[in-house]
Amino acid sequence: MVKSDNNIFECNNITVSFGSVHALQNVSVAFERGKIHAVVGQNGAGKTTFARVVAGLIQPSTGKILVNNKQMLGGDVKQARAAGVELVHQSFALPPSFTVAEAMQFGASNGKIYSRRGLEKFWQKHLDNLGVNVKSKQKIKDLPVETLQAVEIARALISDAKFLILDEPTAVLSPETTDKLFERVRQLKQSGVTIILVLHKLKEVLKIADTVTVLRGGKLVQSPISCENIDVKKLSAMIIGENASQNLANSNRAAPSVAIKPDTALDIKQLSTIKDVEGAALTDVNLTIAAGEIVGVAGIEGNGQRTLVRAIADMVGIKSGEIYLNDQNMTQMSHLERRSNGLRIIPFERNVEGLSLSSPLWENWSIRNYLQRPIFSLIKPKEDRKACNTNLKKWNVHYSNVDQLAGSLSGGNAQKVILSREMDDEAKLIIAAQPTRGLDIGATDFVWKSLRKARDNGCGILFISSDLDELFDISDRVIVFLSGQLVGEFMPPFDIKKIGAAMIEADL
């Protein structure tokens, strides 16, 4: 570790334990002033814990933290903030019913009694100065994620932040908004703020960061590594560990598409829906997915991808048209009947729609079976626990026991629980909505492999992703949505320019 006055932040031998699990073990890092530092690692490597220790949200069991050569108590947010340390959370910590102005105010330190208008004017000025395009009287719950993030960053900057930590800021952003975020981060660096970015897309790391720190399994692998001397390959080897990375490289090349069976898994005819809460209404959508085919859906968010999923899942009103699942008309079927006929969904929001975070794993896992059974069928906890245990083991989920709450799992493991539930042998059509969002390379690769395997077993797969690289990588065919209409269909080799053009017309 480099001892130098130029370090804004140092920590020595930090250990954090939750029960018997060590989230961080003897981590010692120093960050140099005025640079952009990336912290990378797999899900569960301790990145978020590290960020929270720095911000004072978590008290380390042992170790010392120095900010600006001043020792911190640890576990004291006020002191950390007073020293200029601010954390922007992955799932934004803004109360939904607040207006933007109120959300800024409640963490600030100025003012006694305020008037609503005065408050809005005051913060509007601050937001405008930072170039955040939002009205301060808007409610938090009405804002899209990228704006929420901008608001959180703006809030972090109100009190003269010197040291800004962004926890997986790109996980919720589309590629375009990611670039905007990076632009903002670079501006902050210009103005003298030291920035830590917790990231897991390595391309992004190399694009933005000056140094990178690698964590694996709660331990420090190496820090700080200058980004000039490293490439994606070396970095991913460090993140995953040497041996594992070999396997990963091999598996990426494996299994091209196997002979496609002629059956259709999904057939949508002239489907139009009413206006949906989560995006554009569908108009006249025709879509066929063959068994054993992965159809990728591209499009800028909010152009009907979510509505399509909700229409297939019987969650939005259908105006006209028909939906066939395995040649069976399911337009009038309920969600549960559709599931009984082989529909499986890996939903957009894994922590909201996919899992009940406050329920144990085995309940989360066995619920699908019960939904497909008669309403009075008895729950057999013992058998379910056992079945859940065997299945989660098979899917390589890291957990301590099946009674632990789903909310205690890391993102990648939570997604694996959903995969193991939704990708059973009776699945005929799997809808995978942003299944790799927020996952690290290891877990992403796992999801891809699973989808390919399901495809080879004869499942039709509808794959929605905002990451075009990923989409091109695993889809057999890509369709593009624009304002609720299917505007393009592309076969490999995919031409990013053509597909991009089809997506962008949305803005014209």
Binding site: T48, A55, D76, P95, S97, A108, K112, S358
Partner: protein, 300 residues
């Protein structure tokens, strides 16, 4: 008409005080079902205070003291012992209802109603004859609009209010700016304790000068309903509480008008029916009441 307004003010004021206590607790993330218990403690200790000390000031002080004590117990059980709020709240209510009866019996040897020689000072007594027909109302009625306004300022126009609200709505957000949600709940419950004491005092010593077993008769729960109906906004909750009081007053009026044509019990039940209707209406308008989002995630 004047009589009607006076009757409504009389029955609405205790409700409004207690409702405000519920509002600030709700904001901080606590479903305060102990309101009924705190209210009757406030009523009982006011009357006992007047009887035993002969001073209204000491009586009110005593009421505040006991209600704050009750609130501290409630906070400790909910925040430190992590008990379920609903159960703990109902427990507090039970403690209040039983404890007051016990206190009366312990002091006077009989559970019968306790009469005080005088009640809270009347408006006319303090300010002279300037309010005409309203002179006979207690000063707490006059104070009520100011307290509502003060609570509105506190909750909707100060940073403390925002921090209290954030602690209830998104504790993690509160924590991440260095606010301790548990402390905010403590502050909210203490303020609520004082408000419940005032509500109870007005009920027992405002126009009456008597304490009887169970005299709150569900008003605490009605206040809680007003919290929900009023969207836990101080003004909204005040309007909701007033609405219940108006329905109650109309019920009494209707008894006089209809006599025996309409069953007497049905008219007495009107406020309670209005409560159910109010809750239904608010759920219809705003979606069901939101539970506390206490799921503090601490993971990667």
């Amino acid at each position: 008409m004047e009589e009607m307004i006076i009757a409504i003010l009389r029955s609405a004021t205790p409700l409004i005080y207690v409702t405000l206590a519920g509002v600030i607790a709700q904001r901080a993330g606590i479903w305060h079902l102990g309101l009924e218990g705190l209210m009757i403690v406030g009523a009982c200790s006011t009357i006992l205070g007047i009887v035993l000390t002969g001073s209204v000031f000491y009586a009110l002080l005593l009421a505040c003291l006991f209600c704050i004590l009750g609130s501290i117990i409630f906070w400790f059980v909910v925040e430190k012992l992590k008990a379920n709020q609903i159960i703990a709240g109902l427990g507090l209510t039970g403690l209040g209802l039983g404890g007051t009866t016990l206190a009366v019996e312990a002091i006077f040897g009989t559970p019968a109603a306790v009469n005080a020689k005088f009640g809270l000072p009347k408006i006319g007594y303090v300010f002279g004859d300037i309010f005409g027909a309203f002179n006979g109302l207690s000063i707490l009625v006059l104070l009520m609009p100011f307290v509502v306004f003060g609570m509105w300022l506190l909750i909707c126009r100060t940073r403390l209010g925002l921090q209290i609200t954030a602690s209830g709505e998104h504790p993690f957000a509160a924590r991440s700016v260095g606010v301790n949600p548990s402390r905010m709940r403590f502050i909210a419950l203490m303020i609520g304790g004082v408000l419940c004491a005032l509500g109870g005092a007005e009920l027992a010593a405002g126009s009456l000068q008597i304490f009887a077993q169970n005299m709150t008769a569900g008003r605490g729960f009605m206040s809680f309903a007003a919290v929900i109906f009023g969207a836990s906004h101080p003004i909204g909750a005040m309007l909701a509480a007033s609405f219940f009081a108006i329905v109650g007053a109309l019920g009494i009026r209707a008894q006089l008008v209809f006599g025996d044509d309409v069953p007497h019990d049905l008219l007495l039940g009107l406020p309670y029916i209005a409560t159910i209707f109010g809750i239904w209406l608010s759920a219809k308008l705003r979606g069901g009441a939101k539970a506390v989002s206490g799921f503090d995630e601490l993971r990667d």
